[in-house]
């Protein structure tokens, strides 16, 4: 097993009359275990062209109904450039230049085919993103010429 941590700090000195600050750290474990760390990771960098919704992280049997964690950041610097992140044909939210997100992803296969796939679409300009998937398994494809 591996030990991977995800730390988060949120702070503002002026959104309320008093400063707010919160911090937390989670260790990324496999679902259904007390303390067995996830030991597989994919890390990607991609340029997403505009005009089409793409599958970013595809659902699979190896991932389903367990603990997977997804991190996505939009590396564009223009504030107006953005991508939308969708699951199950619904937009969760938009990542503008510099924005990031971190979610657990259970890869729920109980719905229709491809409904758990995480999709992305770029707007305004091609958007450079980096994304990581910390996961419980991967469905490997048998070589066509094996």
């Amino acid at each position: 097993m591996a030990t991977t941590t995800a730390s988060f700090t949120l702070s503002s000195s002026d959104i309320l009359s008093q400063a707010i600050s919160l911090s937390t750290t989670a260790t990324l474990y496999k679902g259904g275990t007390t303390a067995t760390g996830l030991e597989q990771m994919n890390y990607h960098r991609a340029i997403i062209p505009t005009g089409t919704s793409f599958d970013l992280i595809e659902e699979s049997d190896a991932l389903k109904d367990n603990s997977n964690y997804v991190y996505i950041i939009n590396k564009n610097t223009a504030a107006a450039d953005y991508v939308t992140i969708s699951i199950n044909e619904e937009v969760i939210g938009s990542l503008y230049g510099g924005d990031w997100m971190f979610i657990p992803w259970s890869c729920d296969l109980s719905a229709a085919a491809n409904d758990s796939t995480i999709e992305i679409q770029a707007f305004t300009a091609p958007n450079t993103i980096e994304y990581a998937l910390f996961h419980v398994g991967e469905t490997l494809v048998t070589s066509a010429d094996s």
Binding site: T4, F8, A26, Y29, I85, G93, W100
Partner: protein
């Protein structure tokens, strides 16, 4: 405008051959601008003890801004943080993080999430515990 920052650090000494570490900070701004968000729901704490779906924020900014009933806040283009404050325990209990009845992911004890939420028709932001064990959540929304 206000200045609110969110920082993530992902770190592991042994998930790869070399140490892996990624850290980034984003400033929470209004849509398509450098203007800082000025609205927040404030930090909320919620205790659940039933396997029942709860709407934390209703889509479209019309209703269900508070668990169960809601009185309506116009929340669009939000930035949402949530954490399951329970201990991990035996690792079998979690809270489903959902949108419009669909399971996005599972927050086990100690897990957290931070992500943008655009709202819009049918995109209710919901949670549902997997057991009747008392579960405590904290969450906050920043929005335009």
């Amino acid at each position: 405008m206000a200045t609110t920052t969110a920082t993530i650090t992902l770190s592991s000494g042994d998930i790869a051959d070399n140490r892996f570490s990624v850290s980034n900070t984003s400033t929470l701004t209004n849509v398509g601008t450098d203007t800082g968000m000025t609205k927040t729901t404030g930090l909320s704490r919620l205790e659940l003890s039933a396997i029942t779906k709860i709407v934390l924020f209703g889509a479209g900014g019309s209703t269900d801004s508070t668990p169960g009933t809601g009185t309506g806040l116009a929340i669009n283009k939000g930035r949402f943080y949530i954490k399951n404050l329970n201990d991990r325990g035996d690792g079998t209990k979690f809270v489903k993080l959902m949108m419009d009845d669909f399971e996005i992911g599972r927050l086990y004890g100690g897990d957290w999430a931070f992500y943008p939420w655009d709202g819009g028709s049918g995109s209710d932001l919901e949670v549902k515990p997997s057991s009747t064990t008392d579960t405590t959540l904290e969450y906050i929304m920043f929005y335009e």
